[in-house]
């Protein structure tokens, strides 16, 4: 019970964070790939409550930007042109959860686009891209972690249960995967897969690549548990009564691995989201125009963007609350408190 009480707040935090990303269409004011070519690299618009005449407004508003005289990429606030924020407005069409057609957005402004996190080179809204990008990155992380655990679980269970030469072989291969630095491994596997693919293929490619990289650590953990579980007295007794391998595994041995699997999930998901970000950042992942957290950052590789448009960096910080949530969840899931134990287990996948 006390364990549940420790886990629950972190689950709540994560549920809220993921909920926002899942309902990106509602929270994002615009379509992520809609361009506004007249307004490239707009800085974030600041929310105001007090106007130039020192009047307080309850409804927050932003000022439209105009080009600074004599420049082509420097903007300044046009204080004669306030844009009040409207809540629950109808706007671009989207599909909630990919199914329900909807037009309702949390906020918007009449007639003009507002950019709370600025705009990119094509005048696309960074906030909308950030929220929709989360769908790609988080889903890649979740699916990747799911597949990794499935592979690791099967291999670990097989190695631990059957033992002998199968165990030796599988664990030697696992050692190979553990020994390599993960980014080199990711590179190597990605190098031998097709480069020019459409976004959907690229997405599944990434999931496959990151799932293929990390199976060794969970496999080793599961193997250890299976190895000790199959020697328990009640398992031997069941075997003596003629229980089959499948029954023993399903009924007595594999349930023992559930807590390790849960903890591993909490550790792997953020790492895999980061792996997706890294690949997409390097241009090996999900291609434009589909947004992902990685390719939102990729234009920071241009020096001019880095120097002039600092707000393009803001998407990098989005992972911090998610990491915090998953780290908290992982340490709450550990039976014994003390955060270092998790890290010791997760070392291999970090290295």
């Amino acid at each position: 019970m006390s364990r549940w009480r420790k886990v629950a707040p972190w689950l709540l935090v994560l549920a809220v964070l993921h909920g926002i990303v899942v309902c990106a269409g509602f929270f994002a004011p615009y379509d992520p790939i809609e361009q506004d070519r007249k307004n490239p690299y707009l800085p974030p618009m600041r929310l105001h409550f007090v106007d130039t005449h020192k009047h307080l407004h309850l409804r927050p508003f932003v000022y439209a930007f105009t080009l600074r005289p004599g420049s082509f990429d420097q903007y300044m606030e046009d204080t004669s042109h306030p844009l009040p924020l409207k809540f629950f407005v109808a706007g671009d069409r989207y599909r909630l959860l990919g199914l329900l057609p909807a037009r309702l957005h949390l906020f918007g402004a009449d007639n003009e686009r507002i950019y709370l996190l600025g705009s990119d080179a094509f005048g696309r809204d960074q906030l909308s891209r950030l929220l929709f990008g989360g769908q790609v990155s988080l889903l890649a992380g979740l699916l990747g972690a799911g597949f990794t655990l499935l592979i690791g679980w099967c291999i670990g269970a097989a190695a631990g249960y059957y033992g002998g030469w199968r165990d030796d072989l599988l664990m030697r291969v696992a050692e190979l995967f553990l020994a390599l630095p993960w980014l080199y491994l990711l590179f190597a596997i990605r190098a031998f897969l097709p480069l020019a693919v459409n976004p959907l293929q690229a997405f599944f490619l990434i999931v496959a690549v990151i799932a293929a990289v990390g199976w060794a650590r969970p496999a080793r953990l599961v193997r250890g548990i299976v190895l000790s579980a199959k020697e328990r007295d009640f398992v031997r007794a069941a075997r003596g009564f003629g229980a089959s391998d499948v029954y023993l595994l399903r009924r007595h041995i594999l349930p023992e691995t559930s807590s390790v699997l849960l903890t591993q999930t909490a550790i792997l998901i953020p790492q895999y989201v980061l792996a997706e970000m890294t690949l997409s950042f390097l241009g090996l992942g999900v291609p434009e125009p589909v947004p992902s957290w990685g390719n939102l950052l990729s234009n920071l590789q241009q020096y001019s963007v880095l120097v002039s448009y600092w707000w393009m960096y803001l998407p990098a910080l989005i992972m911090v609350p998610f990491f915090l949530g998953y780290l908290g969840l992982a340490s709450a899931l550990q039976e014994s408190p003390g955060a270092y134990k998790i890290e010791r287990r997760s070392l291999g996948s970090l290295a």
Binding site: L180, F187, A188, A191, V320, Y340
Partner: protein, 325 residues
């Protein structure tokens, strides 16, 4: 000692061979090769392409290619780069040197900071300094490497404190040797800082945990009772006793820093393996990719070997074990 060393070396060699086999296995699964894009060019005859493929043995079966590749490794070539039209090894060595410079500096620096911080934190377990260190490592832990590197870069570009990009100024050749070192150090500051900051939280936490584990051992209480000074107690007695898990962590930390350096080199345009490998992947220059992966494995294996040697030197239990065998 010799025997222990040999067994560890054999292990490392097996690892390297295994990785090279694995990498080659992946190449057969790979669709397409370097010459595929030339097919679209009407000026290149299909016969020319198949002749090229035959020349580079890309049409041969896998085992034959592997054997000829091993042969070229033994001749110090590590295969042939299609994009550079030259053997891989010399190309790789230039970049690897830069990567090593970065990674070794970062590893040493990270450990030099992590050890005293961790010991200090363990000594004051549950008190104010410990809390400060725990919280700051927790904060560093939740900032992803990519965000950290880009953040440092944005900060530096806006303040202009350090040079960004490359590893030398334009007038590097004309500088005196002292100024050359200074110039290099200035260029290294940013990538090394990013690497150290990303590796630090894990190291500090492990040092803290391992030292805290041994701090209440009877032999330390006895030593304290003999009036041995606090500092000697911590660094001469407690730290070697806590060394075992830390030395295996040392091997892991090299791997983590190699990965981190791959990314940070690309972000900060450091002329190391990172940008080189990325380019090779995009060009399908497979032998360069295999060479890069192999190189990282060799470096990692060397690091682990070093950790094993240190462990042998520090931990008498291992010495006794290998002597009795």
């Amino acid at each position: 000692m010799i025997r222990y060393l040999l067994s560890r070396m054999a292990h490392a060699l097996l690892l390297v061979i295994g990785v090279s086999l694995l990498a080659f296995l992946f190449t057969t699964l790979a669709p397409g090769n370097y010459f595929d894009e030339m097919r679209l060019n009407p000026q290149i005859a299909p016969e020319t392409l198949s002749a090229l493929r035959a020349h580079y043995q890309l049409d041969r079966p896998l085992p034959i290619r592997y054997v000829s590749w091993v042969n070229s490794v033994l001749h110090g070539q590590m295969g042939f780069s299609f994009a550079y039209n030259s053997p891989v090894a010399p190309l790789l060595l230039v970049r690897a040197k830069n990567t090593l410079l970065l990674t070794i500096t970062a590893t040493l620096l990270a450990w030099a900071i992590a050890l005293p911080l961790g010991v200090w934190s363990a000594e004051r377990l549950g008190r104010f300094p410990d809390h400060v260190i725990s919280w700051s490592t927790a904060i560093l832990l939740v900032i992803p490497d990519l965000a950290l590197a880009l953040g440092l870069l944005v900060l530096t570009v806006r303040t202009g404190w350090f040079p960004t990009g490359g590893m030398a100024s334009v007038d590097f050749e004309s500088l005196s040797s002292l100024n050359k070192i200074r110039d290099l150090a200035m260029h290294m500051t940013l990538p090394v800082a990013a690497l150290v900051l990303s590796a630090l939280p894990l190291l500090v936490r492990h040092v803290r945990a391992s030292v805290a584990d041994v701090l209440h051992a009877p032999f330390l209480l006895a030593a304290e009772g003999h009036g041995i000074p606090r500092r000697t107690l911590l660094y001469r007695y407690a730290l070697p006793a806590a060394a075992n898990p830390l030395l295996s962590l040392f091997g892991f930390s090299i791997g983590a820093l190699l990965s981190g350096s791959l990314l940070i080199e690309v972000v900060m345009s450091w002329p190391g393996l990172g940008p080189f490998l990325l380019e090779a992947i995009l060009a399908r220059d497979i032998y360069v990719v295999i060479g890069g992966v192999l190189f990282s494995t060799i470096f990692l294996a060397t690091g682990n070997l070093l950790a094993d040697m240190l462990l042998y030197w520090v931990d008498p239990r291992i010495r006794a074990e290998s002597a009795s065998r």
